[in-house]
């Protein structure tokens, strides 16, 4: 499973190497300028990245599958769905942890509606990544995007419930 995510990383590296090679062959000066811009952009956002990564470390530890299972519980109603959406919003878990966790929750009796809300907010809503998002888009756009995505996740959850069960 980890293999698939590694695959896309490998492909990204290959594409980058090829394009960088072409760029270098065509215009060395422009390529150096591109690399300088890349470094500047990276250096600029690095503090936020590091903070986010540490926050993720703390949150993933606090919210292990058992704890998530306890919080979401087996209330298959809207309350359980809301709790699932909140847990999903706060965390930012890599896919290869998130999906097996969701699978485990399903096996433990959680409903499709909760899992739908959990997976949807996990991907779309980022409380932990908020500092990065705000730096680029400002408070208004960052807050609006996350709030709209949060409520949209309930629609996703309801449709999944309707289709799957």
């Amino acid at each position: 499973m980890v293999f698939r995510e590694n695959m896309s990383t490998v492909i990204t590296y290959i594409i980058t190497a090829v394009l960088l090679g072409i760029s270098l062959a065509v215009n060395k000066k422009k390529t150096i300028k591109a690399l300088k811009k890349a470094w500047k952009a990276f250096d600029n956002i690095l503090p936020q990245f590091l903070a986010v990564i540490m926050l993720v470390g703390i949150l993933v530890t606090a919210l292990d599958p058992e704890t998530i299972s306890d919080i979401i519980g087996f209330d298959s109603g809207w309350l359980g769905t809301a709790l699932a959406a909140i847990v999903g919003s706060v965390t930012l878990i890599p896919g290869f942890i998130a999906f097996p966790t969701a699978e485990l929750l399903l096996q433990n009796g959680a409903g499709y509606m909760q899992i739908g809300a959990f997976v949807s907010t996990l991907m779309m809503v980022g409380v932990v990544t908020f500092p990065v998002e705000r730096k680029f888009f400002g408070t208004k756009a960052a807050v609006s995007r996350n709030v709209i995505a949060f409520f949209f996740s309930f629609i996703v959850a309801a449709v999944i419930q309707w289709v799957v069960q």
């Binding site: 760029s23 300088k36 600029n44 997976v119 990544t129 888009f137 756009a141 995007r145």
Partner: protein, 176 residues
């Protein structure tokens, strides 16, 4: 030095929190540190090529081209391109924002950039395959089918919600 302190303010705050947590609960501290190192490794492996690609894009793609393909009047073409680039990307959500900044600066419309962010967060192809095998075809396909129009609607909504002034301010303050 003072500037550096200000820049890393949030980072220092989180480190302090981590130290306090570790003092209270050593096991918890150790575990979160190991998760942090894991994410750090993930970041260091995928982030460098993304930034190099962005640098190349910045230098080689003329503004005119970006406006034509992803600008205000790019229509369905712009929406499709934003979806494809976002879904084909690798890396965690926080990598999408620097990319969005380059697109915006080059003249992509806010709507298309929000679609790009939505696609990056939600319709990534490797993630979809993973979801498909873990939660079943019905779950994964339903979510994808709801998310595609959802992402477009959210993008249009966000773009309308922001006034011309808001947008100008965002463009002015884009870091990098």
């Amino acid at each position: 030095m003072k500037k550096l302190m200000k820049k890393y303010r949030l980072f220092f705050a989180v480190i302090t929190a981590m130290i306090i947590i570790t003092i209270i609960n050593v096991e918890f501290g150790k575990e979160s540190l190991s998760v942090t190192f894991f994410s750090l490794k993930e970041m260091l492996s995928i982030i460098p090529p993304i930034f190099i690609l962005l640098g190349l894009l910045d230098v080689w793609v003329p503004r005119k081209t970006m406006v034509k393909f992803m600008g205000e009047n790019s229509g369905l073409k712009g929406i499709s391109i934003a979806f494809i680039i976002g879904s084909a990307s690798a890396g965690p959500l926080y990598g999408a924002f620097p990319a969005a900044a380059v697109f915006l600066r080059k003249g992509a419309s806010f709507r298309n950039v929000f679609i790009f962010i939505g696609a990056w967060s939600t319709t990534k192809i490797p993630m979809f395959l993973f979801e498909y095998s873990a939660l079943g075809p019905q779950f994964a396909i339903t979510r994808l089918l709801v998310d595609i129009p959802g992402i477009i609607i959210i993008a249009i909504l966000l773009s309308r919600l922001l006034s011309q002034r808001d947008k100008e301010k965002i463009l002015e303050n884009l870091p990098g």
